[in-house]
């Protein structure tokens, strides 16, 4: 059985600022990391692999990005992926979510045509669009389940517990399917020195558009129907109201009730 993990390298989000004059991201001196949600997806893939030895699961990590994004894939290999591919080409530059998903779809179709499951992060922490997974699933013609927190494979189907605004929902789909992961374990794993060493012996290849036979007109800036108009930091949330300590419990309860009522929580 083959699980593809789509991974993205992102700047460490809490250290990125927006230049107030140009509206662009200031990435100077900000380190690149594996997108945390993609790491959760990888963890889920490794968990499935370990809990189903009978399925002989192979985990293949695929990313699209500039040449230095190999470090994010190296981390995937250290954390348990079996092989990895970076789709990297100047022709991909400027791709929006649609052009990116086109490249990823072509990459998956060429490199792992017999995939059974695609796991990926629910979104990347830099752009936060959450569009690429859904569009990739559409282009590959497979079902998608988003915002997963737990998965289980049963009889060639995947069962996913997913987050909704009102709680959890459990969905099941036939394989192959694409699942995006929302949350991982509380404490992230750390590879061992042996894992780091072993990762260097695993297959990690860079593929160009030509390698994959991707038509130049379908990727990159010119194939991107959307463009980023402006980037800005979301307004900071104002602090909540506090009932001062020592307030009479009855008064405090009334205040709390009024607040919840006013804000339509009750």
């Amino acid at each position: 059985m083959k699980i593809v993990v789509l991974a993205k390298q992102v700047p460490e989000a809490d250290k990125v600022a927006v230049d107030p004059e140009t509206g662009t991201l200031i990435r100077e001196g900000v380190a690149a990391i594996l997108n945390p949600y993609c790491e959760y997806a990888l963890d889920e893939a490794v968990k499935l692999k370990n809990s189903h030895p009978e399925l002989e699961i192979e985990v293949i990590a695929i990313s699209m990005g500039p040449p230095f994004a190999v470090t994010a894939l190296m981390r995937c290999l250290e954390l348990g992926a079996d092989e990895a591919y970076l789709l990297s080409d100047r022709k991909f530059a400027g791709s929006d979510v649609w052009a990116t998903s086109t490249a990823l779809k072509e990459g998956v179709a060429k490199l792992v045509p017999d995939f059974d499951l695609i796991l990926t992060g629910k979104q990347a922490i830099d752009g936060d669009t959450a569009q690429v997974p859904a569009e990739t699933a559409e282009q590959l013609g497979v079902p998608q389940i988003t915002y997963g927190v737990e998965t289980e494979i049963e009889n060639k189907r995947i069962k996913v517990k997913r987050e909704t605004d009102y709680g959890y929902q459990v969905l099941s789909a036939r394989l192959p399917t694409l699942v995006t992961m929302s949350k991982g374990s509380n404490i992230r794993r750390i590879p061992s020195m042996q894992d780091v060493l072993d990762a260097r012996k695993k297959k990690l290849e860079v593929k160009s558009a030509d390698d994959l036979g991707i038509d130049e007109s379908k990727v990159g800036l010119s194939a991107s129907p959307t463009q980023v108009d402006r980037i800005f930091a979301p307004p900071e949330k104002a602090g909540g109201a506090l009932v001062p300590e020592g307030t009479d419990p009855k008064v405090a309860a009334r205040k709390l009730y009024d607040f919840l009522k006013e804000n339509n929580y009750l």
Partner: protein, 546 residues
């Protein structure tokens, strides 16, 4: 002129009234209490004056004013020190250098083939590194200007200032005065090795411009010529330990004058400007290895530091009690120790960072693998990561033990307000580290005190933290502290490897050097600052001990 003679320069004086200052002990205690304490948390600081000079002229003017007023001066910067050096226990004036925190410029020393940064005393290590790493330097900041160094610097790989005394909000002036070190001293040495040049204002109100290498002691003497007098400084004759040391004044027979000021805890005057060396920055890979006993862990330390092929950035040690503390904290507050579960069978851990280079990684790891196997551990049992946020995680992990200890003590203070942690800071020579560790455990277990041991094992410098549960424990701990100091000294070590002596470790300095040596230090001070104007009470008291 002979190389042991330096001539001080006169400085113009500003009018004292133009300098921002506060007068009155009451208003200072009420409105500016932060200037009366530092990270030592010792109480009793009080001051009649609080001044904020912005340049050398203003400092001289403050010095003259305080001489007139007959007030001692405590020099104050980031106040991150933990031995009370910045706490004005004897009153007088606190002179804060917080308005002197500029990054002046950057130059290339063609003789040494090294880059240096020129900075004011109150700039923090964080800010220096941010400016240098991100190359936020203007062309007008080239030293000298006509050399246009900035263009060349921008083509260099990422550079940084490598001393990391844990508290990166420390000021460079404070670090130089304390000869600050920290975990990475194992690879990079202490602050002393990174100071190229200093400007120091002495008690006459004149300034010494001291580049490294220019002024050397001759026949055990330095001569400092000022406008009105000539000071003959006798270089102390005691021997310094070979082990890492921050206790007492530095001395060697033909020492460089600059080294007299580095690590002198501010007792000779104000550092107003410094040149510090920079180094090219190599990314790191952080690792934590686990062992089932301490003997294996120390064997691993010895193997690791004997490697001729690579040198770790540092080696940090956690004893069984420290690991237990971390495990217990993980159970109740997993995010505080944001790491996978510490293996149950682990009784000791060694954390070590390596320079991360992809082309040598395999060879290095394989060699470490062999070392680990000899110590009954393995690469498989060793955590390893190098992504930037992972490095932060490992750093938090290394700092978690002292934080947990401080939280426990804060809790106990509610019942016993004057209780405090007893933290040692002693080093020994390489060959004695095993014996010293045994000694710590034996004595502490005998009396049944609660303790953890962690710290810079690469430099044979671990911190024993005793956690007293009541006042009897505290007294008992203090007695043990003395025993430890005696033992460390007998193993060729120091009673204070990195914190310094300040106002709270005088008695241990005595154990280490004896009264005669301390009187030699006092003699230097009395010559250069006869009225004990600067930082009285740091390192030793004014009164001669018999």
């Amino acid at each position: 002129m002979p190389e042991n003679v330096i001539v001080a320069d006169k400085i113009k004086i500003s009018a004292f009234e133009t300098i921002r200052s506060i007068n009155g002990d009451k208003v200072i205690a009420e409105s500016y209490p932060g200037y009366l304490v530092d990270e030592s948390k010792i109480s009793g600081g009080h001051a009649q004056w609080l001044c904020f000079p912005t340049n050398e002229q203003e400092i001289v003017s403050v010095i003259n004013k305080m001489k007139e007023e007959n007030q001692a001066i405590t020099i104050s910067a980031a106040r991150t020190g933990i031995v009370g050096s910045a706490v004005p226990l004897l009153g007088g004036a606190v002179v804060s250098l917080e308005r002197m925190d500029d990054f002046i410029g950057l130059g290339y020393d063609e003789e040494e083939s090294k880059w240096f940064a020129r900075v004011q005393p109150n700039i923090t290590l964080n800010v220096i590194n941010e400016i240098v790493k991100l190359k936020k330097i203007e062309e007008s900041q080239s030293i000298p200007l006509e050399k246009n160094w900035i263009e060349k610097f921008n083509e260099e790989p990422i550079m940084f200032y490598p001393i990391d005394p844990t508290e990166m909000t420390a000021s460079i002036g404070g670090c130089i005065a304390a000869n600050a070190s920290g975990a990475r001293t194992f690879k990079y040495g202490a602050t002393r090795d990174w100071v190229r040049r200093l400007r120091v204002i002495i008690s006459t109100g004149e300034v010494l411009e001291i580049p490294r290498g220019k002024y050397k002691a001759k026949d055990g003497v330095f001569i400092i010529k000022t406008a009105e007098q000539e000071f003959e400084i006798k270089v102390p004759t005691y021997q310094l330990p070979k082990a890492k040391n921050a206790a007492g004044l530095y001395t060697t027979p033909e020492m460089d004058l600059i080294d007299l000021f580095i690590g002198s805890e501010g007792i000779f005057g104000f550092i107003t400007e410094a040149d510090v060396w920079l180094k090219d920055y190599i990314p790191h890979i952080s690792n934590v290895a686990f062992f089932t006993n301490e003997v294996d862990a120390i064997k691993f330390v010895n193997l690791l530091r004997s490697s001729s092929k690579f040198k770790p950035e540092f080696m940090e040690y956690f004893d069984n009690n420290a690991l237990t503390l971390l495990r217990d904290t993980q159970k109740v507050d997993p995010k505080f120790v944001d790491m996978p579960n510490i293996p149950e069978e682990a009784k000791t851990a060694i954390s070590f960072d390596l320079g991360y280079k992809e082309d040598t990684l395999e060879e290095t790891f394989k060699e470490i693998g062999l070392m680990l196997e000899k110590c009954n551990s393995s690469l498989k049992d060793t955590w390893s990561a190098y992504e930037e946020r992972e490095l932060d995680r490992f750093k938090h992990f290394r700092h978690a033990v002292p934080e947990i200890v401080n939280n426990i003590i804060a809790e106990r203070k509610k019942k016993y307000p004057s209780i405090h942690k007893l933290g040692t800071d002693m080093s020994v020579e390489d060959e004695y580290i095993g014996e010293m560790m045994e000694f710590y455990h034996k004595i502490l277990n005998e009396v049944g005190l609660e303790y953890v041991i962690w710290g810079h094992i690469g430099d044979n410098h671990v911190h024993v933290n005793i956690l007293p549960k009541n006042m009897e424990d505290l007294e008992l701990g203090k007695q043990l502290y003395k025993k430890f100091a005696q033992k460390a000294v007998s193993f060729g070590g120091s009673v204070s490897a990195e914190h310094g002596i300040g106002k709270i470790k005088h008695e241990y300095l005595e154990i280490m050097f004896g009264n005669e040596a301390i009187n030699e230090m006092r003699q230097v001070k009395s010559t250069l600052d006869p009225n004990f104007l600067f930082n009285p009470g740091n390192i030793f008291s004014k009164e001669v001990t018999q």
